[in-house]
């Protein structure tokens, strides 16, 4: 009827980052552990159930159990499971601990908005301008501080993002409305985008290609359609692409400067409790 394999490992989408390779090895260990436990328990169960089924004249064994046995089968799983926990903790740290996030080669901001992903690149100065929630509006999703010169040349894109392979990419992630979740299946990465917080996600891609970016946290009716694309390119292709973007941005800025007093995008309505704190980058 359709391609079906009992081997669960065969269903993974292709693995395209240093982290996803490591993830799949860990998954493989747990998978075989799980298959082992499953076969052990269920074959014992089936054997007992068949072998000790009621037969005329049969009686059962009047026995309440044995403390040494209880102790053994408490200790063994404890050692096994605690070992697994400690072993996997290293990978958890590598991915999540802020102290373990590598020095970025490329750094971008990403925000989710119902129902699309947007990214901000640093522009030709290589620096992301300051941002703050109070500057946020529908025309300024990232809340770029209008008074920060580093923000002027930043590039904002929606839907498809190019990034280089073999580089440490650090994504600063947030949301402008409800929760979303930044899910890159091929990279085995998922992180909720939480309004009011900026959370770091990092990866180092190994294979060029276009990979789908999904939203994995229910964010409303259109949640299923919150699809993006991450285009992983070789370093030289990426540089060409970003240079072209920067050039376009420069022209736009020059054109704006030529006009007398270009209208600033109005900052979002500020109320008493909004005012006051700026998030520093």
């Amino acid at each position: 009827m359709f391609d079906f394999s009992w081997n669960m490992l065969s269903y993974f989408p292709s693995s395209v980052s240093t982290y996803s390779d490591a993830h799949d090895s860990l998954f493989t260990i747990v998978y075989y552990l799980g298959v082992g436990i499953f076969l052990l328990v269920n074959s014992i169960l089936l054997y007992f159930v068949w072998h000790y089924r009621h037969k005329p004249g049969a009686t059962s064994y009047h026995y309440h159990g044995n403390n040494i046995v209880e102790f053994t089968w408490t200790l063994l799983p404890t050692i096994l499971f605690a070992g697994l926990g400690l072993y996997s903790d290293e990978m958890w740290k590598v991915m999540k601990y802020p102290s373990r996030v590598p020095t970025p080669d490329v750094e971008i901001d990403v925000v989710g908005q119902t129902y699309a992903w947007s990214a901000r690149y640093p522009g030709s100065d290589g620096i992301l301008g300051n941002r703050g929630a109070k500057y946020r509006s529908n025309t300024n999703l990232f809340g770029i501080d209008p008074s920060d010169p580093h923000g002027k040349d930043d590039i904002v894109l929606t839907g498809e993002f190019n990034l280089p392979i073999n580089k440490n990419v650090v994504v600063h992630l947030s949301s402008v409305d409800v929760l979303h979740s930044y899910f890159l299946p091929n990279f085995r990465i998922k992180q909720d985008a939480v309004p009011g917080a900026w959370i770091d996600v990092w990866f180092n891609g190994t294979k060029a290609g276009k990979y789908e970016l999904a939203c994995a946290e229910l964010c409303g009716g259109g949640h299923y359609g919150m699809r993006g694309v991450v285009n992983m390119q070789s370093e030289s292709d990426f540089n060409k692409w970003i240079d072209a973007k920067n050039a376009v941005r420069k022209q736009v800025l020059a054109a704006e400067a030529a006009q007398p007093k270009a209208p600033e995008p109005a900052p979002a309505a500020t109320t008493a409790e909004d005012a006051g704190h700026t998030e520093h980058h």
């Binding site: 740290k93 409305d177 994995a216």
Partner: protein, 606 residues
């Protein structure tokens, strides 16, 4: 005591004010007997009936969800053309309606089916009968605990008729999404009500088990069902107030714009939303602080039921009775320190992730202990394959799979990938359907004779089990594969993603077996209804079991027991050398010539 409370209640109730003087009319009146009854067995039947009804409603929602995943955009057969345009377009499910279906399916199954059956119906039916007493410690509280459930269910379903529709943020209802819309407010109010139902029930069970045990019954003479229900009750009392608090805080955000869960300057246009200074993740901490223990509220009673069924039909004592009790206590205790495993991707401090990963992995230990002891119980038994036994054995097999998938998710880095995918959906259903629901079926068949005084039909029961077991596994096992493939949960149309397009045939396969699984449940309903009327009259102790409920008359009336109950031994003296029979009930006096005859008579009375 009872009379005093009655006076009090009717003093406030004008409709009944005049009936008040005729106490005797009162006790036989239809309303008191069947609707606002305080008899624990009637309340158990009410919980049971309403849960079966909602099982069908929730099941119907599930089939709609499955239809959409197999055949996105195609009109729903039969009912599609009757639904309003706000829900369907040309008979096909709209995205907003889809999220509402997902939300309602889970809300109903968790809060209106599994918890009410496990911690409502079984607790009410079993506790007084199995500890040899006449009723709950607080019968009126008990009645209120039931009536909150249908009121809450109507509240949440009323959401379908309000502007913007019913709650559509998932059963976990995370803000900011859930902070706007009347549907979400109704959801919060309903959850508050079922929460209180649960707290009232839990208080009552704790009080009853501690104070109303039959003469001679020590805590370690309790059957595991009662132990399990007692420990569940403690979970209900300690955990549910936190859910109530969480719901109240969200209510404040929704109605009084307090911004507890809402950070500064959100770009949300729907609703009159004020935001600033709040923390969305706070909701999740409070929610899971309750909802992780809640998954144990749904499984722990069932572990007790399964233990009793296994012992009875293996004609063998439970292997490691005390280890089983301590394992339940360990599960309950650890259940309160693992909630963060639902939040590995939430953005909470990664340091917490490490802690929660280790505590969660440790909670697999008491679960394993239980499985090993169940195996020990059937080992060298004398096994009878009745319908309850088949369901109990099915429970062990499927629950094991759910436990194993739990280990995958307990490992933080792995969970990051499979969370919010169909892997979680597979896990949930292996523990809640494969686990809780199979155990619930075992309990329903096991106690049917005592509950209704009739025997169910064994052939029909076995068909129900076999069909359910096969279709269940074919429906839910492939979901693990979808999850590993990255297939997200709660998505209206997976196939807009290229990487999910190849999964359409598998989704179709799952849907076919989901439909068969759903229709197999009609055998259960048919068996229950048919045998109410046409079933064989049940004997007092049809399973030749040891626990006290079987000392009561076949269909016990108000007050339960027709003789004094004194407990002489533990609940699992099967095949004991002390007795010529292969069982030795708790209420039988240790052998002296005369007493043996007299009590044998009770034990085997038809």
């Amino acid at each position: 005591m009872e009379a005093a409370v009655a006076t009090h209640e009717h003093g406030a109730d004008h409709a009944h004010a005049d009936a008040h003087t005729h106490e005797h009319v009162h006790h036989t009146s239809f309303i008191r007997h069947y609707i606002f009854s305080t008899d624990h067995k009637t309340i158990a039947k009410q919980f049971f009936g309403s849960a079966l009804f909602f099982l069908l409603v929730g099941g119907a929602f599930a089939l709609l969800i499955r239809w959409q995943l197999a055949y996105p955009g195609e009109p729903i057969p039969v009912i599609g053309k009757w639904l309003p345009d706000s829900l369907v377009s040309n008979g096909a499910i709209q995205p907003g309606f889809y999220t509402q279906l997902v939300t309602m399916h889970a809300t109903i199954m968790i809060f209106f089916v599994i918890i009410p059956i496990a911690a409502g119906s079984f607790a009410n039916f079993c506790i007084p009968l199995m500890i040899g007493t006449d009723d709950m410690a607080m019968p009126y509280v008990n009645m209120i605990s039931f009536w909150l459930v249908p009121v809450a269910a109507l509240t949440v379903l009323a959401g379908f008729f309000v502007d913007g529709g019913t709650a559509g943020g998932g059963w976990t209802n995370y803000p900011p999404l859930s902070a706007t819309g009347t549907g979400h407010t109704l959801w919060v109010v309903a959850i508050f009500m079922v929460g209180f139902s649960s707290i009232l029930g839990g208080m009552n069970y704790v009080a009853t088990v501690l104070n109303k045990r039959a003469k001679g019954m020590r805590m370690f003479d309790l059957p595991l069902t009662v132990w399990a229900l007692f420990i569940t009750a403690v979970l209900q009392v300690l955990g549910t107030p936190v859910l109530a608090a969480d719901a109240s805080l969200l209510f404040l955000d929704q109605v009084f714009h307090s911004s507890i869960f809402l950070p500064e300057n959100l770009l949300i246009s729907t609703g009159n939303l004020h935001s600033g200074g709040g923390q969305p993740i706070l909701w999740q901490h409070l929610f899971w602080f309750y909802s992780h223990p809640a998954v144990y509220i749904m499984i722990v009673p069932i572990m007790g039921v399964v233990s009793d069924v296994l012992a009875t039909f293996s004609r063998k004592p439970i292997y490691g009775y005390k280890a089983m009790v301590f394992a339940l206590m360990a599960i309950a205790f650890l259940g309160f320190i693992v909630w963060g495993h639902h939040m590995f991707i939430s953005g909470m401090s990664p340091l917490l992730g490490t802690t929660f990963m280790l505590s969660t992995i440790v909670i697999a230990v008491p679960s394993s202990i239980k499985v090993f002891n169940w195996l020990g119980t059937v080992w060298r038994g004398n096994i009878y394959f009745t319908t309850p036994m088949l369901n109990a054995l099915g429970f062990i097999g499927t629950f094991t799979i759910g436990g194993i998938s739990g280990i995958f998710m307990a490992v933080g880095p792995i969970d990051v990938y499979i969370t919010d995918t169909y892997f979680i959906v597979a896990h949930i259903h292996y523990v809640l359907f494969g686990g809780s629901l199979f155990g619930i079926f075992a309990g329903i068949y096991y106690w049917y004779p005592k509950m209704f005084g009739k025997m169910y039909n064994e052939t029909l029961g076995k068909w129900h089990f076999v069909l359910t077991f096969i279709t269940f596994n074919l429906c839910f096992f492939p979901m693990h594969m979808l999850g590993v493939g990255g297939h997200m949960r709660r998505i209206h149309d997976p196939y807009i993603y290229d990487f999910l397009k190849p999964f359409q045939p598998m989704n179709e396969f799952i849907t076919i077996f989901a439909i068969l699984l759903g229709f197999s449940q009609l055998l259960l309903i048919a068996n229950i209804l048919w045998c109410l009327k046409y079933g064989k009259v049940a004997p007092r102790n049809p399973w030749k079991a040891n626990t006290l409920e079987w000392a009561a008359p076949a269909h016990p009336g108000h007050g339960n027991f027709d003789r004094d109950i004194i407990v002489y031994r533990g609940p699992y003296e099967y095949s004991s050398p002390e007795s010529k029979k292969d069982y030795l009930p708790q209420w039988i006096k240790p052998a002296t010539k005369t007493s043996e005859k007299e009590h044998e008579a009770i034990a085997h009375e038809g």
